[in-house]
């Protein structure tokens, strides 16, 4: 019992770790951290086939990281526990601290310079109230439509160039995307800074902003 209980526990931990050890599943979890979703929506967002997506979701469910409920003929998945987001975040931190491979990719985004310090949510809220900042939402249009920070301008990385001419050069820009796993905001900030803009990225993403109960503009579902 002594050793076997320990092994059984370890196998439980391993089940969770295994669930996090496929890029497809990390993408699914990132997406589910935004909002609960059906299989088809998740498949489209992640670029997986529906059957494959379904199987990854079931693997996540086996590890109890997600739960599902039926809504008509659709199955809706959601995160079981917000702790999972913390776990993914810590996974990211450990990887970024230790893995040269990851560090290099992040450096590439910033063209060798150090990443600028992120803007805290409290600071952004304050500056939003003053109106002394432009907020950029670098997520797909449908996610922007569902919910966004008030007065945020929606753009994608590829459309950013078109937006450049109309942006004021003397006002700070704060970009955000989905959250810590999402690098759209980083890439947008890097591109903006290259053009001479005063750009920063928001700490975390929309889910974190929302979780703090901050002001939000909700669209039609």
């Amino acid at each position: 019992m002594s050793t076997s209980a320990k092994m059984a526990l370890l196998e439980g931990y391993v089940l969770v770790a295994r669930a996090l050890s496929a890029p497809a599943r990390l993408m699914l979890l990132e997406q589910l951290a935004q909002q609960e979703s059906g299989v088809e929506a998740l498949a489209e967002k992640t670029g997986l086939t529906i059957a494959n997506c379904s199987q990854h979701l079931q693997q996540l469910r086996r590890a109890a990281l997600v739960t599902s409920r039926r809504d008509g003929k659709a199955m809706i998945y959601r995160l079981t526990d917000a702790k999972t987001i913390e776990l993914m975040d810590l996974l990211r931190v450990v990887a970024e601290r230790n893995l040269a491979q990851v560090d290099r990719i992040l450096r590439d985004i910033w063209n060798g310079e150090d990443a600028p310090k992120p803007v805290s949510r409290a600071e952004l809220a304050e500056r939003l109230a003053e109106g002394s900042v432009i907020v950029l939402d670098v997520r797909p249009a449908d996610e922007y439509a569902a919910a966004h920070i008030p007065n945020a301008v929606n753009t994608t990385l590829s459309d950013l160039d078109q937006l450049l001419p109309v942006l004021a050069t003397d006002v700070d820009i704060v970009a955000y995307c989905r959250g810590p796993y999402c690098i759209y905001a980083h890439q947008a900030v890097a591109a903006l800074r290259k053009q001479g803009f005063q750009a920063h990225h928001l700490e975390g993403g929309l889910p974190e902003w929302r979780a703090e109960g901050r002001d939000i503009q909700i669209g039609v579902t």
Copy 2:
């Protein structure tokens, strides 16, 4: 670049998650959280063959969770970063919160009752100073010999029965082992409570106690 950079980052995170997804490697990390060690010592502690242990260690090194240095003809491995311990701990918490399978094993240890609240390190230190507590070190003898909490009594689970008759029934007992991954202390406390003793387990284990700079009795190396 946009998508491929993201995929490359995800693969980095996956590398770390994969490193945590084998029981053997979790055992190795738990052991390395105690102290840096050579391959042979680790193999013996974990019950792995030396070659197998070496390969797991290299997998951990590939994920940059451990680093190695040479000492004479021995390779000494140690944790790269204390954050890894946090990551393992959070992995444990998520698994225990969500996985019925894990919860059941823990319940089995406590015979269906809820686990008693652990004793904080501050509280134990205070009561040690008063002398109003018996401390039980439920780790293998060699680890006890290397370092232990002052005045702690060393025992193993199998030897616990022999110790029972000599223990005072009117004094609280606090048991500890390696840390959060180690369930010896839990099992010892459960056994003691079954016999009517006032037993609790220490929050964390010896590494945590040590990390706080608390009093410790160090043996010969």
